[in-house]
Amino acid sequence: MMNEKPSSTAGFQPVGLLARAELLEHAKHPRNRGALETADMVSEEANPLCGDVVTVYAALDSGADHRSRITRLSFTGHGCLISQAAASMLTEYVVGKSVEEFLRMGRGDMERLLGGVLSPSRVKCAMLPLLAVRNGLARFSHAVHP
């Protein structure tokens, strides 16, 4: 399970997440939006309650150390600003990270990316793209190492 514990609020404004320029900029002009033709992994997660859908496409590469790294991540989908901004920010953040590094990411990391504390009712919006990558990687590694 992902780390769902509330993060420390130190260093964050408790209000105004949706007024943060960077978050809004990502939501309105998402990075790496679109399907990846050469994806090694495709994974979709949806939140039926609010209609958020995120599909992630990842290209993976095994380096000399035989550790899989995420070389590209893109996404498609629709939904609230937070889920879409989180997906956009994640696609930039994870490039070059190893799968192990990615699997250590949790709520606190998403809050750092988004630049504010998530209220309990909005956590699942921000976690949706992270969950999509995580579940996709789990299936991918199962397929590679059954």
Binding site: G16, A19, L81, S121
Partner: protein, 434 residues
Amino acid sequence: MNRDALSSSAKGLARVAARDTSASPPHDKRAADVAGLRAQFPILSRNMRGQPLVYLDNASTTQKPQRVIDAEAQLYETLNANVHRGVYELSEQATEAYVAAHEAVARFINARSAEEIVFVRNATEAINLVASSWGVEHLKRGDQILLTAMEHHSNIVPWQEVARRTGAELRWVECTADGRLDLDDLHSKLTDRVRLVAVTHVSNVLGTVNPIAEIIREAHQVGARVLVDAAQSISRLPIDVQAFDADFLVFSGHKMYGPTGIGVLFGRRELLEAMPPYIRGGDMVKTVTREQATWNDLPWKFEAGTPNIAGGVALEETIRFLSEIGMERLWAHEQALVAHALPRLRNVPGLTVLGPQARVGIFSFTMNSIHSHDLASFLDERGIAVRGGHHCAQPLLTSLGLTECARASVGLYNTAEDLNRLVSALEEAHRLLR
């Protein structure tokens, strides 16, 4: 207020509702007096996100005045004993208070007697009671249950189960483009195959006030029974089950400034008498042998097990609170807020308000393609509590071509200033989020 006055005022208000939303000017003194009652609601002095709370989710649940909170506590402090059981004085007093609460509800909605008042957990349970007991007993293959496109899930899902179990068919009355019930469609679908019409009095999304007496009159002409969901109307306008000629009418305490966990089923006496119990156990029986049992009198036949005594007594205090204000004043106050808010909301760039002109103080809206949860979060960051999502009315939103929307809904303690704060926050949202 006597019953005749209440009944005629109900008719008068229904006419006002059908004709015009500006029943009284925004600065009506009586209306201002109503908002002055907000000091009696302790929760409204809380700050949210560092700012004074503007609570605009009253269609979800209302806040409670101190006297209602006190009434619930006082039951436990001074009157707590089981009801209908003990021969000792304390139990007799508790029973008396619990019975009196039923009588207060009967007077409040002008039922013929307290035997027609069943206490349940909430409106949802009341509908489930009617569906499981009356519905399963009376409906069969070939019968039709007529619902409306603006029903809350609680007045849909129980009937889907009745249809599945009995073979009866669900049919739907559609809405007009401006969010009223299509009475022509109702008329054409009201055939003698319709055995039940399940209809909301006030839409929890659109704020529409349905012409309930007219609907019931038409339904009775084809021999159909009518269940009225009064969850949204009970706190907003006078309810008179005899003037409506209602068969069943349901509501929740928590949406009328009363406690959670207590709700009411009104049922016409002869219908309730012919219905089998919904749940079975203690208190709903007269005699029990190893083989069988005989049922208690109304309404206790439907109140198995130890009931929510404190909730019932606090509901009576709620009714006393509302009656002292007067439902006409509450209506006038709310209509003044509607007249204040509706043009201002419609002026916000990008904002589309759902529903008709004539309405209660429920405003559902969309803003461009901004998700309602983002709008709700944005407002929350400014201390304003509204609801986002599908409002337990997915079939309605689907028929409107939506999956979700935001909703602001007023209560008696809301002021024009609260709505001004909503409007300016929405203008800000349009600038920042679009």
